[in-house]
């Protein structure tokens, strides 16, 4: 019998390709190897369907299962935690010819991924506004504010949260003349929450949280007024979005 690592590599190639090669000769019931392959594709397809219910409702069961199968084969999991599997699905959808006529689909998937992550992201204690106020202004301006792990920013040329509601309710949606949407996804009181942001506040959060800019730079780049900044900070404080204040090493 071949060495275990060789068997497992050959088995793994079989699961991915359907051709079990040398493994078929080593097992008692070669035809049943397809049970393992089917389980690999079906169970991961079910995990994707649980993460992306609105995408599934939009394209229908048959189309979704084909897309999921193709995705699983192209992007199989690299780690065991299935709640963390499928991050690349939105980008994958943007490249699939069969759904090219549904230009809102990748954004719908981005929103669903952000909500899925928000539900299971690690818990973290937040830094409140009084703690920010206690920091010397020069140091605060130069600091980077760390986001809660559940926070995500999703923007779309389409009103993607309303579209998601409609699709999950089994209804259609008219996108004619619809406006773009900037969403803050977070977790509060045991539930995932969505909040609409205006473009300036959204740009601030993007600068701080996604680009990792110091507060002062992110604020300048977002071109917010003092009052606008105050209301964004009040909102971040209230939802516990900030979990740390990082200072660059003294130069």
């Amino acid at each position: 019998m071949p060495a275990l690592h060789e068997i497992q590599q050959s088995f793994g190639r079989g699961l991915r390709s359907g051709d079990f090669g040398a493994v078929a000769a080593s097992v008692t019931h070669p035809a049943r190897l397809s049970i393992y392959r089917n389980h690999f594709l079906i169970s991961l397809g079910e995990a994707l369907a649980a993460t992306y219910p609105a995408v599934k409702a939009a394209v229908g069961e048959a189309c979704f299962s084909g897309l999921a199968r193709r995705f699983v084969l192209a992007n199989p999991p690299v780690a065991p935690v299935l709640a963390e599997y499928g991050a690349e699905f939105a980008d994958f959808l943007a490249d699939q010819a069969e759904v090219a006529g549904l230009p809102y689909l990748p954004d719908l998937a981005r929103l669903e991924w952000a909500m899925n992550r928000a539900a299971v992201a690690a818990d973290a204690p937040s830094v409140g506004l009084p703690e920010l106020a206690a920091i010397a202004p020069e140091r605060l301006t130069a600091s980077r504010l760390a986001q809660h792990p559940a926070i995500a920013l999703v923007d779309s040329a389409y009103p993607v949260s309303a579209l998601r509601d409609a699709v999950l309710a089994g209804e259609g949606f008219d996108l004619t003349g619809a406006r773009e949407e900037c969403l803050l996804v977070y977790r509060r009181d045991g539930a995932v929450a969505l909040r609409n942001m205006d473009a300036g506040g959204f740009a601030l959060l993007r600068g701080m949280f996604e680009q990792g800019r110091p507060l002062g730079q992110a604020f300048e780049a977002a071109r917010l007024s003092e009052a606008e900044l105050a209301s964004v900070l009040a909102m971040l404080g209230e939802i516990g979005a900030i979990t740390g204040v990082e200072f660059d090493h003294e130069r």
Binding site: M1, L4, G12, V27, T28, P30, R32, Y36, H39
Partner: protein, 283 residues
């Protein structure tokens, strides 16, 4: 914490709210480690329930049979969870799930060879060293066997216990499913296992599927425990009277009442077995 003897159930999140509201009497709750490695509401609900129920952490993703070894990142996360929840029991399977950087989300079969025994023993020892706990290893449902295996599954498990000090999680449904699918004697396997090594017993439903002119049993955890598996459980309960039992139900999830009733049925079955043993001793 000692594991209780009355039968437990697998905690599935759709039942979390009903558990929290009604606190039904079951011996303990078992969770899949991989579903609780993050935070959020499901984790918070578990933290609440663990005040009222002993816990068992059943990992599904350590891939103890991997020739490439156990994934260090995943082990670190499972270890942190074990430290936080201080469960009565910890277990994973006699199978493998990952190779060449891909995780296949399945309990894939191992050839029961001397080489595989060495590899699984190294992996189990590594996990036990990290967790600083004895773990239980579960016999999986199998659909294929390997030609040229050096030993039976029970001999492999016995040798693994010998080498690592681990215990056995005996899944009697898996035993029945594998015996049917591959040809084998589940009763003989129960008789062969060392009584001291078995630390937990699993019960679950399976499906009968006709394919290619043969009947294959699929371990789908989607129904009540089958009559043949209850008969095996009687034998297991008679031999491993100290090991707590657990009902697993994952697909076609029933109401919590039905799940709890299945656990009560296991308790009644054990009581009957125990009474029979007392009578036999008295006679």
């Amino acid at each position: 914490m000692r594991a209780p003897l009355s039968t437990g159930v697998g905690l599935r999140t759709p039942h979390s709210a009903a558990f929290a509201a009604r606190r039904p009497k079951v011996g303990f709750l078992e969770i899949h480690a991989e579903n609780y490695l993050g935070g959020g509401p499901a984790r918070a609900a578990l933290e609440d329930l663990r005040r009222d129920y002993p816990l068992s952490i059943h990992a599904v993703g350590l891939s103890l049979g991997s020739a490439e070894g156990v994934d260090a990142d995943h082990l670190a996360r499972v270890s942190a969870l074990v430290e936080r929840l201080a469960p009565a029991l910890i277990s994973d399977h006699l199978s493998w799930s990952a190779v060449d950087g891909t995780y296949f989300n399945d309990l894939l079969p191992l050839p029961y060879t001397i080489e595989a025994l060495r590899i699984v023993a190294e992996n189990v020892a590594r996990v036990q060293d990290r967790l600083r706990r004895r773990m239980l290893i579960e016999n999986p449902s199998r659909y294929v066997g390997f030609r040229g295996a050096a030993m039976s599954e029970t001999a492999f498990l016995a040798e693994l216990v010998e080498r690592t000090g681990c215990g056995i999680l005996l899944d009697v449904n898996n035993l029945h499913v594998s015996a049917h699918n591959l040809g084998g004697d589940a009763e003989a396997a129960i008789a062969d296992l060392s009584s001291a090594a078995v630390g937990e017993i699993h019960l679950a439903g399976h499906a009968r599927v006709e394919a290619d002119g043969e009947t294959i049993l699929i371990d789908d955890h989607g129904s009540a425990v089958d009559a043949a598996v209850w008969r095996l459980f009687e034998s297991a309960a008679a031999r491993f009277g100290h090991a707590p039992a657990l009902i697993e139900w994952d697909s076609n999830l029933p109401s919590l009442d039905v799940l709890v009733a299945e656990a009560e049925k296991a308790d009644r079955c054990r009581a009957t077995v125990e009474a029979r043993r007392h009578r036999a001793r008295a006679a």
